[in-house]
Structures are given as C-alpha cells and as structure tokens.
C-alpha cells in the first residue's frame, strides 16, 4: 500500500495538521512503510476470528441514569480564553 504526497496533504488537512509541502514525500514514504508492515496481517487466515474492537477483554460498564453533576460553569469558564454571556467564544465560524 503506497500513499502519495497528495494523500498525505489530504490526511493532514482532515487532522488539521500543518505539513509543509516539501515534507509530504518523506511522510508518504514513512507512512507507506508502516502500512506495508501492517499489511502483512492480510496473510493470516482470519475467517473464524472475531474482529478485535478493544485490546482488553473488557465489557462496557454502565451507570444508572442519574444526574450527579452540578453546574460548575464559572470554574470551567475561568479556564477559557474568552467567554461572554455564559458562552465560550471562538473565532467566528461563518460570515
């Protein structure tokens, strides 16, 4: 499996990571090598094996439907860069 520099730039964009264009070929080579390594798994016969969805042999613990959190807005908002009228402020999303 081989990734192109364009693939790298697309993946980087989706992850909102800045990858300078001149480095995209290096990343393409390195990431392709990782994918090739993992690709070896395809040689194993997995017909009767349940796909692994969690590394631990654990099952989901569930809680009762109870409200046990109180309002701590003031505290949380003291950590935020900017707030107004109880809202967290972020740069304008749409014009």
């Amino acid at each position: 499996m081989s990734l192109t520099p364009e693939d790298i730039l697309k993946i980087a964009h989706l992850a909102r990571l800045e990858v300078p264009e001149e480095e995209s070929s290096d990343y393409a080579r390195e990431l392709s090598a990782i994918l090739d390594f993992v690709e070896q798994m395809n040689e194993a016969d997995t017909r009767d094996i349940l796909p692994l969805s969690h590394p631990q042999d654990a099952t989901l613990r569930m809680r009762e439907d109870k409200i046990n959190e109180s309002d701590q807005r003031e505290y949380y908002q003291s950590l935020a860069p900017e707030t107004e009228g109880g809202h967290y402020l972020v740069p304008k999303v749409i014009e």
């Binding site: 989706l14 992850a15 909102r16 796909p51 969805s53 969690h54 590394p55 631990q56 654990a58 099952t59 989901l60 613990r61 569930m62 809680r63 009762e64 439907d65 109870k66 409200i67 046990n68 959190e69 309002d71 701590q72 807005r73 949380y76 908002q77 900017e82 107004e84 009228g85 109880g86 809202h87 967290y88 402020l89 972020v90 740069p91 304008k92 999303v93 749409i94």
Partner: protein, 477 residues
C-alpha cells in the same frame, strides 16, 4: 407517469428522553442557561472518561424490539472524527460497524396502500453542542448544554419513492417513539430531526443516481416541501443534460428551496475507529427479555383492539392511537361506560381535538378531563342533554366549570322529554304558522324542517328532537 424514479432514504435523529447524558451525569433539560449543564466530560477536559448511561441502551433496545429488528447483543462505539467548535473532543462518539439495532421495519399507510419500509440500522451516539452565530462581535458563541445528549440515529433503507411516503414514514416513526416513551418528539426543540438522502434515476435504470443530502428539516410540512423541491431540481438538472453532485444541501423554508452547503465528505473521511475508552456494549438475554416484557401495547395492536373491543371505525381508532396520551384519555373516559365508546371517540376526535388544536394545547392540558367527559356523555345517553345543549355544557366545562349536573341546572339545559310539555309547544307553533302548515299539507314537505326549527327555538333547544319530529308528523298527519 414520469420517466424518472425518485429514491429517498431518511436519517432521523431521535433525542432519547434520559435524565442525564449518554456518557456523563450532567442534566439534559432543554432551554437552561448556556453551559450550566456541561460538565468536564461534555466540554472534553483532558483526562476525563465516558461512562455509558444504561437507560440510553435500554431505550435503543425498546425501539429495536418495537420495529421487529435484530438487536446486536454486542455493539461497538466508534469515534467519528471531524472538527467543529461545538464538538470539543474533535470526535463524536457514535456507532459504526456494529450498531445496537439492525434490520427492522416500519409499515406505512399512504392513501390506503400499506408498504413496509426497511430500517437499516439504529445506532446510539452523542449530540454535539450548539453554535450561536448571532449576538457576538466577530465571534461565535458555544453552548455545550446539548453536547452529550443521547441520540438514536435511525437510518431507513432507500425504500421511499415519494415525498408523501417520506412524510408518512416520519409521522409513523414520530408517533412510535413517543408511544414507547423514549423521545418527547418536540420538533421545535430539535428532539426529532430529519436528514433526507434524495436521488433520481431513469425508471429503466437499476443503478441509483447520485444523491444529495438535505439537512435538518424540522417539521413535517417542510419535509414534504423540501423533498418535492429537491426532486424537481434534480430532474430539471438531468433533463438539461447536467448531473447531480453529491453534496449537503440546506432547506430554506422562507424561500422554499434547497441550497448547497458544502461538498459531502466521503464517509471514510471521518476516519472512524473503535473508541478505546469504551469496551464493547454487551446485552444479556435476560436484559432483552426484561425489556421485551416492559414494552407497551404498540399503536397497531391498540388500534385493532379499539376496533374489536369498542366497535370503532378503523379511521376513528387510528386517530385515537396516533398519540398515546390521546388513546389513554379515550380509555380512561370509556372505562365506566364502554357502550358509549363511539360517542367518546367522536368527542375526542372532534370537539376536543379542534379546541386543543386552536389553542395549541396537548391532550394532557385539556380542561375537560376523562371524568368530566364521561359524565357529560352519560347525560347525553340518558336523554338529559341533546347534541346542541351538550356542546353548551362542554363549553362551560372547557372554561373551567367542574360539575356537569350543576352546569345543566344553572343554565336550565335539561332536555324536555315530557311529551305533554313538548306537545303544547308544537301546538303553539302550528297555530302561529298557519301558512306554512297549509304549504306542508299541499305537498311542500320542505317546510317540515322549518317547523321543527321553530319548536326547538321556542324550547330554547331543550326539546328532545326525536319527540318533536314524531309529534309534528302525527299532528300534520
């Protein structure tokens, strides 16, 4: 018949009516002060971990059982990755490969035609927060109260062919989730939201056309209009030799049109992967049995029972069961007098429905309670009230009166069934309208109605109409 065939699939987000969020213990109430119900998990502070709400899982299973679906006793939570400010984690916890509910169906009725619509899957996920774009100088405000509210996303097969079918499916689903008590169904508050995937293809072709997705249509009326508009847009485009592009469009109700929002990102762009914070959700046989035993009687079964037990028309029964609270109201009213069921159904579907509708109230707000309605109907059945005087008493009850017999006394509405009393009024009328009596006798039978009206008027509507008719007919011979 048009050369084009439309294919519609619907994705409905149903907000589950839990007290707390799906992965945190914060409250889910609507309309609270911004961010007062957003705890450390909801605002995604580092190091926090999600803990699953059992009630959300139970509600998903309730839904699955109600649509005859396959319940996956092992289902997986996955991260759906995308960036938006109202999603502070940078991913939404959802289900991807193994949803909790798979392969069910919902039967819809369009103009008397029954069709079974496939439901591909229903999966659990968390809602995002809300972005407020107005009211802040050069900034967007973020309210995370809604973040983490449990949603059940219900995905239909592309089985729907017309906007009318789409609306029928949505109404059916809307009624069902309220019936099951898993969603309040409030569309204005976003508790029940719909996205529609629409494509058209030449009727002769077996491959689906390119689809456009219309987001967040928040009323049944808009669903119909948005889909109708979108179908026409795509057909026009194709007939002019153009092609539909896969994209997300937004319905603008003011202009009655859909507009392009952004190119729809391919599914794998969300880079789903199993959430390492959440091991597989396992449901035991025992749990499923418990939930199955707790299911309420479903609308279809209840409708059939109303027809057989109370001898209602299927049409009347369907109206009653559409809203579980209305059906409950009906049964509470007929409890003591099952023989009057038809009358009760008429009052509920007629007078009560009309008044609730006018005042924008629901059945639980009705000032006329089942007890009062039952009493009122007894007084019609025993001949104390006529149809018209009953309406007058009903109005008084609606305005707050609480004693049916008291109202009848106060207003002097007791129906006159004493034939002597009626006869004397009839005689008065016959003596007063000699011309009309002559006309009747010379063959103009239409004046009969006029004479009945005069008797009723003189009795202030209290004479028993049946007796009036009989007496008049006898006397006019």
């Amino acid at each position: 018949m048009s050369d084009w065939e439309t294919v519609i699939g619907l994705e409905v987000h149903v907000q589950l009516k839990t007290a707390s969020k799906i992965f945190s213990g914060a409250a889910t109430d609507y309309g609270s002060e911004p961010n007062t119900q957003a705890c450390a998990v909801d605002i995604a502070l580092p190091g926090v971990l999600p803990v699953m709400n059992q009630e959300a899982a139970r509600m998903a299973v309730v839904f699955g059982l109600a649509i005859g679906a396959k319940i996956n006793q092992r289902s997986i939570f996955a991260r759906k990755n995308y960036f938006y400010p109202d999603l502070p984690k940078g991913y939404q916890i959802s289900q991807y490969e193994l949803p909790i509910v798979a392969q069910g169906q919902l039967e819809i009725n369009v103009d008397g035609q029954l069709r079974s619509i496939g439901i591909t899957r229903a999966h659990l996920e968390e809602d995002a927060g809300k972005s407020v774009h107005e009211g802040f100088q050069g900034a967007t405000g973020i309210d995370l109260n809604r973040a983490g509210t449990p949603l059940l996303e219900i995905v239909s097969e592309p089985d729907l062919r017309t906007s009318a079918e789409a609306v029928a499916y949505l109404k059916k689903l809307h009624s069902l989730v309220r019936y099951l008590g898993i969603c309040d169904g409030n569309m204005q508050e976003g508790s029940f939201r719909c996205d529609a995937n629409i494509s058209v293809k030449p009727r002769s072709s077996s491959t689906l056309g390119t689809r456009a997705e219309i987001k967040n249509i928040n009323s049944f009326r808009f669903v119909e209009r948005a889909i109708t508009f979108e179908i026409e847009r795509q057909i026009d485009l194709l007939e002019e030799g153009g092609s539909v592009i896969q994209e997300t469009r937004l319905y603008d109700a003011d202009r009655d049109e859909t507009r392009s929002m952004r190119g729809k990102e391919e599914a794998h762009d969300y880079r789903y992967f199993p959430d390492p914070d959440l091991p597989p959700l396992l449901l035991s046989d025992q749990f499923l049995d418990q939930v199955a035993a707790s299911l309420p009687e479903l609308p279809e079964a209840r409708c059939a029972r109303f027809v057989s037990e109370y001898k209602l028309d299927p049409g009347e029964a369907t109206k009653l069961v559409d809203d579980r609270a209305v059906a409950d109201f009906f049964e509470a009213t007929v409890k003591d007098s099952p023989k009057e069921a038809k009358r009760v159904a008429n009052w509920i579907n007629g007078e009560i429905a009309a008044r609730l509708n006018r005042q924008n109230l629901t059945i639980s707000d009705s000032p006329v309670t089942p007890d009062l309605l039952s009493k009122l109907i007894q007084r019609i059945a025993d001949g104390t009230l006529s149809g018209n005087t009953a309406k007058e008493v009903f109005s008084a009850l609606w305005e707050g009166e609480r004693d049916v017999d008291q109202v009848i006394d106060d207003k002097g509405l007791k129906q006159i069934t004493d034939s002597g009393a009626i006869e004397s009024i009839v005689d008065e009328v016959l003596n007063g309208f000699v011309d009309q009596v002559e006309q009747y006798k010379s063959g103009n039978t239409k004046v009969f109605g006029f004479l009945v009206g005069q008797v009723m008027k003189r009795s202030q509507g209290k004479a028993n109409p049946k007796q009036v008719n009989e007496l008049l007919r006898n006397k006019l011979g």
